[in-house]
């Protein structure tokens, strides 16, 4: 392509402007979390002010942030690992032992994801209670895993399908058992897909709020439930809410920034041919 310098300038300006525009709400959240409550609702909105750490210390004083963060970490990592363990073999089997029903099964799996969680709340609540798993991390891990499973299977399936069949056949001729083949050939070849599938699952689990809010109370609360402590109490709360929100999303957003490349590479769902 002829790189017209004028064009590059336009592109640069446009892209930066749009990116800043789209990022603005988050930037604003960041700013607000350093304001006092009165500054937060100031009209017109304040861009320049003397920052205060008050909100963060208040959040830290009121809630055991580390406990929530730990729970978030455990549940999202746990459900990611569990999900990969279940999804990988299924996707492998779908990709390499295709039958006519494979696509139907895949679509059926995806359709289970379409049922609104609210509709199943009472049944699931009762089940969890019967199993004595209310307010426990395993319960959340299981629920997160199950609700992410369809997407994970699909993602892995598409990334496995990119592996040429001949390589597997070569392995088979080399005398590889199904496990060796999976462990030494399929897995290493799909690390990209596996990683980005894991990352996506991690993000989704981290941000899951409905089940986290409804199935746990004191011990297993995740950061998503932390927000509920700060949203609309009686009295001014915007700055504190911003601080709590920021603390809740910062780990995953920063994590997302760093793993962006990896995530993007596998986030194709077979869309790239």
């Amino acid at each position: 392509m002829q790189p017209n310098p004028m064009f590059t300038v336009l592109r640069t300006v446009g892209a930066w402007a749009l990116a800043l525009l789209l990022f603005f709400p988050l930037g604003w959240l960041f700013l607000t979390s350093f304001k006092t409550e009165l500054q937060a609702i100031h009209v017109p909105p304040l861009f320049i002010f003397e920052p205060t750490m008050e909100n963060f210390s208040e959040v830290q004083r009121r809630s055991d942030y580390l406990l929530y963060a730990r729970n978030s970490l455990i549940t999202s990592v746990g459900s990611t690992i569990l999900g990969l363990l279940i999804a990988a073999p299924a996707a492998y089997s779908m990709a390499f032992f295709r039958t006519k029903k494979t696509r139907d099964i895949l679509m059926w799996m995806l359709s289970t994801k379409m049922m609104p969680a609210v509709g199943a709340l009472v049944p699931i609540y009762v089940l969890a209670q019967t199993a004595g798993m209310l307010d426990s991390l395993p319960a959340l891990i299981i629920v997160f895993t199950l609700s992410n499973l369809p997407i994970m299977v699909w993602m892995l399936y598409t990334s496995y399908k990119d592996i040429p069949n001949e390589i597997l056949e070569a392995a088979r001729m080399d005398g590889a058992s199904i496990w060796t083949e999976f462990r030494h050939v399929v897995m290493p070849l799909s690390v990209g897909g596996l990683a980005s599938c894991g990352l996506l699952c991690l993000v989704l689990s981290w941000n899951e709020a409905f089940w986290a809010l409804n199935l746990v109370s004191a011990k297993a609360g995740t950061l998503a439930t932390l927000i509920s402590q700060y949203s609309s109490p009686e009295g001014l709360f915007w700055a504190k809410l911003s601080a709590a929100s920021l603390m809740a999303i910062a780990p995953i957003v920063v994590f997302g920034w760093f793993s962006q490349k990896q995530l993007v590479q596998g986030l194709t769902f077979g869309a790239v041919k």
Binding site: I41, H42, Q129, A218, Q229, Y230, P233, E234, G235, L236
Partner: protein, 414 residues
């Protein structure tokens, strides 16, 4: 040690209590407190789901005056075992009545509130308006019209508009009450399409259209509080608890300019102001009853109030529960709204809040299980009417139908 899981709403007094946990745990070394603090709507969902499915996640629940009578009647709550030190007779009678069944207290009030009118003395002076101690809505409107100055960033009247039975319907119920209306007649027929409702809602929509802030149909307590604190409201009718916020200079730009009056009236003073108490209760399924009793007694005792006073000052104590609080000179000195608040609470009567006789308990709600659905549906319609999406008549008609549907579904009549 016994671990108590306590579900509370994320309001200031509760958060203060949470911070005072060490005092309780030091006094009761064998009890540990675990807090689950949730925003009001979520709390209600969680607590209801849990108690109804016997989930047993919570040992102590924070509930309101709406739930208390219904749940205690169902046997879902254990009575509070009061002792002499607790001095149950010290509780404000209206509050105590609302939380008791057959003379037994089923939930201990942690803090209570009514509603009242808050206004800007400076603006009233400016336009030459003299606020009576209990104004009528006509008077209030007159002041609102005069004070309204959107260009100058001041709106005549701030009222709740966000849909929800605990949001806009809490206020609107009192407005309907004072216009002589009610939710149900003695045959449990919804009365929403009657004249008092029409008058009340038309008045509400009129005044808000003319003198209200933009976005009023999304405003509830906090949004209005923010507006008022920013100096954007000349008047505001809402929970008495607001008084402590707007007169706190740390939060409010107009702390020194506010004044208080009783909730405005129209046809009748009956039910013009609501009554609410956030209370602590023990679900029947709890396995740690003794510890829970100990905790509740501590949290709602006179001593607790004194503890808060000692720790953070008398202007921050939970109010609206005990007569003794209002007899404490330090308290009266610290909060200039104490008197108005007590008067408002005293005049509210959940058992007799409407002009015609009603079969239900509750000022700003009807304490029947079906009410939540009705309140939510009607609230939606009222907020739609406020935003101009539908006319008042349509909104009321739809609401009436919705209410009839729910009542029919609830089996009140065929």
């Amino acid at each position: 040690a016994t671990e108590l899981v306590i579900a509370t709403v994320n309001n200031g007094h509760m958060i203060e209590m949470q911070k005072l946990t060490p005092f309780f745990e030091k006094a009761n070394p064998d009890i540990k407190l675990k807090w689950v603090t949730l925003e009001e709507g979520t709390l209600r969902q969680r607590v209801t789901t849990d108690i109804a499915t016997k989930g047993g996640q919570f040992d102590v629940m924070t509930i309101g005056m709406y739930e208390a009578p219904i749940w205690s009647k169902k046997g879902w709550l254990l009575p509070i075992a009061t002792d002499a030190a607790y001095d149950v007779d010290d509780l404000l009678p209206a509050i105590r009545a609302g939380l008791s069944l057959d003379g037994k207290l089923y939930a201990s009030p942690f803090y209570g509130e009514s509603s009242m009118l808050m206004y800007r003395k400076d603006l009233a002076d400016k336009v030459g308006f003299k606020m009576p101690d209990q104004p009528t809505w006509t008077q209030v409107k007159e002041f609102a019209d005069k004070a309204n100055d959107p260009k100058g960033g001041v709106y005549g009247m701030c009222l709740r508009g966000k849909p929800g039975w605990g949001d806009n319907m809490a206020f609107l119920s009192t407005l309907v009450n004072t216009y002589g209306g009610q939710w149900f007649d003695m045959k449990w027929q919804p009365q929403i399409d009657t004249k008092p409702w029409k008058d009340a809602i038309n008045f509400y929509v009129d005044i808000m259209k003319k003198d209200g802030p933009p976005g009023a149909s999304a405003n509830s307590f906090n949004e209005n509080l923010a507006l008022f604190n920013e100096g954007k409201c000349a008047m505001w009718v809402d929970a008495t608890i607001a008084a402590s916020f707007i007169s706190d200079p740390k939060q409010s730009k107009v702390a020194d300019k506010v004044a208080f009056a009783q909730a405005p009236t129209a046809v009748t003073p009956k039910g013009a102001n609501w009554l609410w108490a956030w209370s602590l209760a023990i679900p029947a399924s709890s396995t740690k009853v003794d510890a829970a009793q100990t905790f509740i007694k501590w949290a709602t005792s006179k001593d607790y109030i004194k503890l808060v006073a000692k720790e953070t000052g008398w202007n921050t104590v939970p109010t609206g529960t005990r007569k003794s609080t209002y007899q404490t000179p330090e308290f009266l000195k610290a909060s200039k709204f104490a008197e108005a608040e007590k008067k408002a609470i005293d005049t509210a009567n959940p058992n007799d809040s409407t002009l015609p006789k009603s079969p239900y308990v509750g000022v700003q709600y009807a304490a029947i299980p079906e009410f939540q659905a009705i309140g939510v549906a009607v609230g939606q319609q009222m907020s739609a009417a406020l935003s101009g999406k539908v006319t008042v008549d349509e909104a009321l008609k739809t609401s009436q139908t919705a209410a009839e549907r729910e009542m029919k579904k609830g089996g009140y009549y065929k």
